[in-house]
Amino acid sequence: MSALLEARQLSVCHGQLEAVRGVSLSLSAGEVVAVIGANGAGKSTLLRALAGLHMPSAGSVHLDGKDITHLGPEKRVAAGIVLVPEGRRLFASLNLEENLLAGTYRARPGAWDMGRVFELFPWMRERRGQPASQLSGGEQQAVAISRALLANPRVLLLDEPSLGLSPLALRRIYSVLPELVSSGLGILLVEQDVRQALRVADRLQCLLEGRQTLEGKPAELEVEQIEAAYFGIVQARRGA
């Protein structure tokens, strides 16, 4: 199966710091790949680079085998790569509906429209006039995801969707993932909550200090293996 989105030996620098170091990954249509790792492992930077918000210092990004390494972020949206950023980043002075409509600004043709979003999250219909800043964290996350879906992406990049959410809100957000995947969307998920990531991911990739330390299917990985890759305690454990 050929990959929908592929990163080859991608490195990204923040000034002096090399936040992502030679990471490769691939994502197919209808697949969920989770990138896990501790704080500062370079997960968000990797996602932002795939969305075109950081230019890589080395390596390349491909969509359908086509090199898009130097494509700007707004052009990547048109090509079908949409990021749901960390912290939601809704437009604070726009109301809920206007935030959703912003998602349609450069939308590709596809199945997602306002009606379908209101079907998925019925509460949005009544509260569409409310300023985005008055919504709860979970509601904002739902709006952020809907805003991204309205662009009819082929690849959805989800950056820490669970951050700051109550367990209930978290479950609600994650409950929509299967439906999205079944429609052929490829989802790249960055998550600090490893248990959550293991539950939904088809494949798992672990980053440690910008480097890839583990890759595999959740079912085939031992907990110790993941722990070691996550915390980088391989040597310590062997020494003990």
Partner: protein, 289 residues
């Protein structure tokens, strides 16, 4: 009763101030550019109008039909080619570039049109008025200005709230990067905002050219008034700017009741008072509209 008259005149005049200042507010609200050439753009509109009238013999009151589109288009490309390039190299650069633009505009106008003061001749309309009561008279021109300001600001408002592009202009003002994440080319949207700013200030410039006379170097003094209106209203807030403009208009006419000189001083006293009490303006809302 003269006081009531002064208030009415002040409100009429305030619309013009607001129209003049709203472009400053837009530029700052959307892309955090303080356009030091704003006043000169208004003056340039007057001179362009003079040339167009000489060629086409269009009545001066209708010349905006030709001038405003030129400035809308000019604003877009001016942003894309000058302001955006300076924005890309840091926020201080935009101050230098717009200051440079101001100097260049003034000198080009001086070279082409000489330093004589000129105005747009609208015949008797400049002094005609409706006598409402023995004390209150409403000059046609002021009413036209207020009407124009309300219509122009309403168009800007409708554009920003009802169209997809306008909505994205507000979105980009909120969070430029998040706007990119939904596929917006922020440079294009900055250009759109600059087009609106340039179009409205050109309209205000034409009104000034009918109301009074201008010279190539009058731009900066108008810019000061614009700044005062914008700061009183709250930087970057469009409706705040309208209130700011009204406040300035009122201060001018009410101050003139006491003494004509006080009429030009009171607006700045109000400006200082607002700065002292509410340094972020009367409506420090972090939103464009």
């Amino acid at each position: 009763m003269t006081f009531v008259n002064a208030v009415v005149q002040g409100l009429l005049l305030g619309g013009l101030f607001a129209l003049f200042a709203c472009g400053l507010s837009l530029m700052f609200g959307v892309m955090e550019v303080i356009n030091l050439a704003h006043g000169d753009v208004a003056v340039a509109a007057v001179y362009l109008a003079l040339s167009l009238i000489a060629v086409t013999h269009i009545p001066a009151i209708w010349v905006f039909v030709l001038v405003v589109p030129v400035f809308v288009v000019g604003g877009y490309f001016g942003q894309r080619f000058f302001v955006q390039r300076s924005l890309d190299s840091g926020p201080v650069t935009t101050l230098l570039v717009t200051f440079g633009l101001s100097v260049v505009l003034e000198n080009v106008l001086l070279e082409v049109y000489s330093a004589n003061s000129q105005s747009l001749n609208i015949g008797s309309l400049v002094s005609d008025s409706v006598q409402v009561s023995s004390q209150i008279s409403l000059p046609y021109l002021s009413m036209i200005f207020l009407g124009t300001a309300v219509v122009a600001l309403s168009i800007v408002h409708l554009f920003l709230t009802r169209t997809a592009t306008g909505r994205m202009v507000r979105a980009v003002a909120d969070d430029r990067e998040a706007a990119q994440m939904v596929g917006a080319d922020y440079r294009h949207l900055f250009g759109v905002a600059a087009a609106m700013a340039s179009g409205t200030v050109a309209l205000a410039g034409l009104a000034l050219g009918m109301y009074t006379s201008v010279t190539p170097s009058s731009g900066p003094s108008y810019l000061l008034y614009g700044f005062a209106a914008v700061v009183i209203g709250g930087l970057g807030s469009l409706w705040g700017t309208l209130i700011g403009g009204m406040t300035l208009g009122l201060a001018t006419t009410v101050g003139s009741l006491v003494d004509p000189d006080f009429g030009s001083m009171l607006p700045y006293l109000v400006f200082l008072a607002v700065l002292a009490v509410r340094p972020r303006g009367l409506f420090p809302k972090k939103a464009l509209i």
